[in-house]
Amino acid sequence: MALKFSRSRRTRSLPLIGGAIAVSAALALTGCTPSSSGGAGDNGDSDTITVWHYFSDENQVKVMTDYKDLFEKNNDGVTVDNVFVPYDQLNSKLISAVGSKTGPDVVVFNGADASTLALGGALAPITDQWDGFDDKSEFPESVVHSLEGDVYAAQGYVNLLGLWYNKDILDEAGVQPPTTMDELNSALDAVTAAGKGGITLSGLPQSQGEWQAYPWLSSFGFNYDDPQAAPLEEAFAAIQDWTASGALTRESVTWDQTVPFQTWAAGNVAFAENGNWQIGTARSDAKFNYGVVPLPVGEDGQVYLGGEGQGIGAFSKNPELAWKYLEETYFSAEGQAIALKDVGSIPSRGDAASAPEVTDDPILKAFAQSLADNGANYPAPAVPAEAVADQQLAVGQVWSAVIGGQMTPKDAAAKLIADLEPLLAK
């Protein structure tokens, strides 16, 4: 290809007349671009760090702003630029930025994508910084993202699923919040008999579906270390019992994790399988008494520990300052307390997680207990880094087909095992 550019040949003059005409016409017509602050490419300013994130929820944005204020207060003359990138675009934007050797100083991304981003060269290894970090022993292993012997990111907090319940509906039906699958099933029978919805969850054929499916699948004994069809078939049959009895609507195959919670918060459904990040929504939207119990998935059951990973961009001009930012905000006890206060995320540090703010709050306590009893690495360690996205998609699609009633439990289990085999063997 003739068009092969290197950074050294970066020039503002256009070699081709056509391009020049076009560009000058465009420039003449449009004037200049209003603001260039936060530009990751041009910003040579050594006292500015750029943080890319995908938060748009008011409370989550407040965490970012609080961190910015905290870091700027502790470090004179330093500016933090928080840059929003839409969730669906963050990964591809980071990876295409690698091609032109640009990118942010700090990346806050979906923890499950850590290996994709690390493989794509968007994250800088932070092994040295991490090993030299005094407080690293406070962090459980499940929140540190490593690939091929290098640490690339860690999480300042974890998100996980719990079972939200509508206390008014349960009281009316005369049932207690369930602690086992049997109790859950009889509670579902009781509330559907009373004309209420049973449970909402996401059946979207993608990673969100897999994230929501895994606790149920694992409660029947399924795991990725040794995937077997029998427990899958049992789990799928149980789910189809729910759709058959009307406890779970088949409509959930079109739902991401937001809609089912909003549906539950509207007040006509007894349970919702949803996360701790919904605490704010519950407070503002749910006009009934509610509570949370750990997902009743038993001893075998596994509840993924998700959340955002924080790492340093591969082309950060100021990795020292970026690390300092992470150390003083996301990875510090003070920073984690801010996130807990603003959005109710569970701190990843042992010392911060055992603070009274967590243990005294009935809702956070349920999540913390679930974390202790059933918490599992996300993505599952048995899945090779290259295959994570494929595995999530494959499970999500089958999960969706089961809820939608397209497949029998037997066929679905067989298909999923067949799909997973080559992926796990990679």
Binding site: T30, G38, S56, P86, D88, K93, G99, T102, T281
Partner: protein
């Protein structure tokens, strides 16, 4: 879908009427059909507007009812978003720049391809269709490399060029039949009178094909106004995002602000409606101008 059923009252039109085609005819069929069309498009719009007037908590619970306490919160929130007006200005600059640049390049191209019959035309048309087919996502990474090398990242010019490249095939294909519809005799007459080709093009072709040009321009403007993928990928600073990217901000992995999304949708579309009102008049006038002999 039935269009119009032949009616016995076909002769009802008076031939003496100067423009009978525009007058009311066949209202028994066309009238109700128009109302059906109105409903098909008005109901979703009504839903958008109603949702934008709800509290976030009411969106799911009052999906098919009109019983809710309306609030302007979503609009106040959106309008107080810092950067809304910068974003609107950005959208305007990008859409206007793209429209101008696209028309500048595509009008001559459409004309050229309409007037020349050769193998090159056939190949050209085929290639335009192929380009039209290339998924936009496939362009992002190569264009990022070009713009990175030319210092066009984070610049309006970069996004305008990308949008223009995306829309030239579309605009050229669309414009061609409009130029084709202009009788060649008109041009020949002009050239016999000694007018140069560019002059003929400017003073004869363009005025007659103006319906097509105005429509294509409107469509290009609309498309570049809503374009989102390039804007999000080629702007590195959020301060430069246009409205379409702001809209994406209402949807996140952690929640969707339905009233905010719908309110921003409404606000985003208002400039489009103003533009439409303008071109709608243009098109009506085009009718009489089009009859130039």
């Amino acid at each position: 879908m039935s269009i119009v059923i032949p009616r016995a009252d076909a002769t009802a039109s008076a031939p003496s009427s100067p423009q009978p085609r525009r007058k009311k005819r066949f209202e028994p069929v066309a009238g109700p059909l128009r109302v059906v069309l109105l409903l098909i498009y008005a109901v979703p719009i009504l839903f958008i507007v109603l949702t934008s007037l709800k509290q976030p908590g009411d969106v799911i619970s009052s999906q098919s009812s009109f019983l809710f306490t309306p609030t302007l919160d979503a609009y106040t929130n959106v309008l107080s978003t810092s950067g809304l007006f910068v974003a609107m200005q950005q959208s305007l600059v990008i859409a206007a720049g793209t429209t101008a640049l696209t028309l500048l390049v595509a009008i001559p191209a459409g004309y050229g391809l309409a007037r020349v019959d050769s193998r090159i035309t056939t190949i050209g048309l085929g290639l335009l269709i192929v380009l039209q087919m290339v998924p936009q996502t496939a362009n992002v990474i190569p264009l990022y490399q070009i713009f990175g090398a030319w210092g066009l990242l984070d610049q309006n010019a970069g996004v305008i060029i990308a949008d223009t490249a995306l829309l030239i095939p579309f605009a050229t294909l669309l414009l061609r039949p409009f130029f084709r519809a202009v009788p060649e005799a008109l041009e020949e007459a002009a050239s016999i009178d000694g007018a140069s080709i560019p002059r003929t093009f400017w003073s004869i072709m363009l005025p007659i094909a103006r319906n097509g040009v105005a429509t294509t321009g409107t469509l290009v403007f609309l498309l570049s106004w809503g374009e989102f993928l390039y804007a999000v990928n080629f702007f590195l600073s959020p301060g430069n995002y246009p409205l379409s990217a702001l809209l994406a901000q209402q949807v996140s992995a952690f929640g969707i602000n339905w009233p905010g999304l719908m309110a921003l949708g409404v606000i985003t579309s208002i400039p489009i409606l103003i533009l439409f009102t303008f071109t709608y008049r243009l098109l009506r006038e085009g009718l009489t101008l089009g009859a130039v002999k």
